[in-house]
Symmetry: C2
Subunit: 432 residues, 2 copies
């Protein structure tokens, strides 16, 4: 099987190197002779040495090369990449891609085109790097009605949060560290505003629940506004704050949301630190599971790209209907379950407010909550610092409807005894 | 696709119930209509209601039933199960099994028979219940040269160890608890002597390293002789004791061994408690990964059985050479790497001895170690209890050859100042 690689950046060079280093092993597993026949890249990459392989500066040459059976798209972005992938498909070539933004935003169009041409489009590397979570959801847990999944799927955010928690660094400092170490881009907004995680979650939610890819419906909140004091108070309450991507089957729809989240400090996923990724999946038969590994980097991502190449090699001569469906469910089996707006989400909350240190304030806040059917699970009230008349008041609520919670927050903010905004962070028990 | 289930115990009834409850979802994922056409079981099981399905007391009737495409073997054991599976294959039927002992001991014979008949034999449920570790090793991590894997793959042993660690219970007490809760059999030796874990490890090692199934070559040691004081000392040293199944590519061969192991208390797998399972896999491209979930129980195991049924349904009409190879490598691609005897293993050790409380003993022990090139990483020497002249002396060594370590142990036991045996437990850093 002849492959053409488009893009020779971090993942492209990693893919080239893994294919070259482990050739015999990979071919023995695939039962095929996998060869790189062409590489399309705007520039060379000192991280790999493609001597002996045809290299072109025009990536579209790879896509139009009659000798290429499989196009491996590793250029990123959604404009040229979309054009490239659609042209590869039109040319009857199979596609392997690591491009989460492309699949999340244009997956429906791409899979429809691929279906018409009877070609495969594989995208294991688009979510959580080397962790085979796409295969796990599509195949390994195929017997299950998925109840929920929750993942740490943005390594940059997790690195920053770990530094905030363990070293007491503020967000800006921790971000600067991440940038210095190459874990964050110069423009970090894709990562720290949650967009990257939202791209990945759209894909996971589609695979888990059989719903179409709907990037515009995902509630997306990053970690850029997270304050160090909330990280510390969370710890005091026995929790840790992680940036979680959550998809959950709920009454009347699916919750699909990305945001900082308090999780119990003794849960396994709370121990996932630094740039590592992990995804918990709860299935009705299997119960809770977790899948952990490197979510980015040249070779971890290449591990997933090459696994896809092996899968494509095996299925090359199979009937299209015998292949694993692009989005886990065969044919047009999307179910009509809507994605719920964030207002309709049920979850528990952490609230922090600055309250005047006088009798009656807690009662006023408590009655606003109970009027809306929200019960309070735990409270921390700090002593006032010398010279200050306001104190931090921290609460954990039981599960409530987000719209009720937000109404309560507005009412609390209107109290004269409360200064400024009420910080609210969602809390997940991850146990059912 | 018509399936026949042989055995209606815990896993059989779980499989029946999952297939029935999630029929629409499973068929949509499989792109096939999967039907149970016959069940063979010696007796009914109140845990499921197979009304409408033909039930026979003669399991071989299922195997000979011309309407059955896939035989699901869930009777356990290695005598009748072996006969049943071989007859199913001879009849041209595909086989799905959860039987680890059967695959570990008779897998070579079974896969050879299946290859001749061009039928599939799927066994995801044989290792780690609902965790799709077979698929992960055969497919998801297919790009990697596996460096090592280490798993908690016997839930009974992990439950007992967790009770010993967290509740300070002795082995016998914790075992009695496990039996009362149904986590351990009346005869617990398969679990607590490590045999069940060894069966599973044989399978994992073959998939990871491309070596034949060789149950007789696995070093197998259970937890039944583990003393509570060693669990406590391990904690004091920053470690936890887990019953690990380890396979590692080493110089000159593969280490395949099952034994109680000290692991760093801050490693993710150290947090895997109770009956849960987890397997770490280190690949050269992907780096460290971990896969966590329920390793036993009716529905977790059924999750894996049904995932296999879906895989078989997809590949039903595919060419045999396009299917994933039984043991991960296609054709007769076994490599000749031998399994190392335990004497040739390199690892670190925890040692505990009872030493006379007088000057010079530590020096004598230290010189025995250094004479054999073994260096000591940490020592705890306890004060003598009133009226006792011996004190516990605990050491952690650096990595050493097992045969050197055992020679040192024998020499230490020969010292007049040392009473009784030297307890030795292997230590794994799980970091490279």
């Amino acid at each position: 099987m002849n492959i053409g690689i488009c893009g020779l950046g971090t993942v492209g060079s990693g893919t080239f190197n893994v294919l070259n280093r482990n050739t015999a092993l990979i071919n023995a597993r695939a039962g095929a002779n996998i060869q790189i026949v062409q590489i399309g890249a705007r520039r060379d990459n000192p991280a790999c040495d493609p001597t002996g392989v045809s290299v072109t500066r025009d990536i579209f040459e790879v896509v139009d090369n009659p000798a290429v059976d499989v196009v491996v798209e590793l250029i990123g972005g959604t404009t040229i990449a979309r054009e490239l992938v659609l042209r590869a498909i039109a040319n009857g070539k199979h596609v392997v891609t690591a491009n989460k933004a492309l699949i999340a935003q244009y997956g429906s169009e791409i899979f429809e085109a691929a279906r018409r041409q009877s070609v495969m489009v594989a995208f294991e590397a688009a979510v959580a790097g080397g962790i085979p979570i796409i295969k796990t959801l599509r195949e390994g847990l195929g017997a299950n009605r998925i109840e929920w999944l929750a993942g740490i799927i943005n390594g940059t955010s997790n690195f920053i949060l770990t530094a905030m928690e363990e070293e007491g660094r503020a967000f800006d400092d921790a971000l600067a560290d991440a940038q210095a170490l190459g874990y964050a881009e110069a423009d970090p907004s894709f990562d720290v505003e949650g967009i990257d995680a939202a791209h990945k979650l759209v894909i996971l939610a589609s695979l888990a629940f059989g719903i179409p890819l709907q990037f515009d419906k995902v509630y997306t909140q990053g970690i850029s506004k997270l304050e160090l004091q909330d990280v510390a108070y969370a710890r005091e309450l026995g929790y840790r704050i992680k940036h979680l991507a959550i998809a959950r089957q709920s009454e009347g729809g699916v919750e699909v949301r990305v945001h900082p989240t308090l999780i119990p400090g003794n849960s396994l996923i709370a121990e996932v630190d630094g740039v590592m990724n992990a995804i918990m999946v709860k299935g009705d038969a299997v119960g809770p599971t977790m899948f952990y590994g490197a979510g980015a980097g040249a070779e971890p991502t290449a591990s997933a790209v090459v696994a896809d190449i092996i899968d494509v090699a095996r299925a090359l001569n199979s009937a299209p209907e015998a292949r694993v469906p692009y989005l886990a469910f065969s044919g047009a089996n999307f179910n009509g379950t809507p994605i719920l707006p964030i207002e309709a989400v049920h979850t528990a909350y952490y609230l922090r407010m600055s309250a005047l240190d006088k009798p009656g304030v807690l009662t006023a806040v408590g009655s606003i909550m109970s009027d809306r059917g929200i019960s309070i699970e735990a409270i921390i009230q700090k002593r006032p610092r010398p010279g200050q008349d306001h104190v931090p008041l921290i609460m954990l609520t039981n599960k409530a409807l987000e719209s009720d919670l937000m109404a309560a927050v507005t009412a609390i903010e209107d109290l004269d005894a409360i200064a400024g905004k009420v910080v609210h962070i969602r809390v997940e028990a991850l146990d059912k």
